[in-house]
Amino acid sequence: MDQFAVKVFVRLRPSVLDPAGEATKSASIKLGAEGIKSLRIGKMIEVKIEGNGENEVREKIDLLCDRLFANTVIEDYEYSLEKL
């Protein structure tokens, strides 16, 4: 069995308003940071997972992302995978 470290990024789709991102953008500007054109907040999920090779692990992660980690009505996801 191989072990993999997976980092999943879940983001609101561009068409979905992100009020938390807007509020943080506003605070960033108040802090004095200049030039911020856009700020959106997502989630990062770290998973350590075992499987027989990368393809099998990718299948499992695809299922998790599609059914649980992200709601694809409002969110997109992508992930990176590193063999340990």
Binding site: S15, P19, A23, F69, V73
Partner: protein, 221 residues
């Protein structure tokens, strides 16, 4: 109707289950039974309410974890059989997460948790959940949510409008919901999800009775 029993689902973190039961039993004389979320035998209940609250602490997304409970898995057959399911607030979020209703509920536009009474237009009579047969097309119900902004893509919205699936719209949109949507039904009409709380408007002494009709309609066949 004497034996008609409404199952009130209890998840870890539900907090409107007792209010729903009080409204049904105390105000409408309809028998209720609490259903723990790990329960999957729905054969002795005739309708189901998914109450408000914070199932699983709203972890990941509101309703996202509740969707995987044995009871929600058993709900598919219950809905297909035509029996009625009412999802209130967190219950509405669970119904969208689990695909019984389209769209999703996300953070209110102004990020506030809004606790208020709102005026609502009754848009569709599908499923008979609301009384729009007389002059009164507007009702007042309480809302209490931080993540009640209904969102769907334009194709879904068109489908909702064309098929008369929009049950309620806010008169003064409090949370930024698409098309002012406060509640929708499935195509058959036997599943209703709404953010306002009808169970909190069932007695004049607590501010109104506009929620009675919806709860009473649980016993419709």
């Amino acid at each position: 109707m004497d034996n008609f029993t409404v199952g009130v689902v209890v998840f870890p973190g539900s907090n409107c289950d007792r209010d729903v039961s009080w409204a049904l039993e105390g105000c409408l004389d309809i028998r209720t039974k609490y259903l723990w979320h790990e329960f999957s035998d729905l054969s002795d209940v005739d309708a189901i309410v998914l109450p408000g609250g914070f199932s699983y602490g709203d972890y990941l997304r509101c309703g996202a974890i509740a969707r995987f409970s044995p009871l929600i898995n058993a709900l598919d057959e219950f809905v297909k059989s035509g029996k009625r399911v009412l999802g209130i607030c967190n219950g509405f979020q669970i119904l969208t997460e689990s695909g019984f209703l389209p769209g999703a509920l996300v953070s209110n536009k102004n990020l506030n948790f809004i606790c208020d009474d709102v005026e609502l237009d009754i848009v569709s009579s599908k499923g008979g959940w609301f009384n729009n047969r007389d002059e009164k097309q507007t009702i007042k119900l309480p809302i209490a949510h931080g993540e009640g902004r209904y969102h769907c893509d334009s194709d879904t919205l068109k489908k909702l409008v064309d098929n008369e699936l929009i049950a309620l719209r806010y008169k003064n949109n409090p949370n930024g919901s698409s098309f002012d949507i406060a509640g929708i039904t499935n195509e058959k009409g036997n599943v209703l999800g709404l953010m306002p709380h009808p169970e909190r408007a069932c007695d004049e002494t607590i501010g109104g009775t506009d929620g009675l009709f919806t709860l009473k309609s649980l016993i419709l066949k």
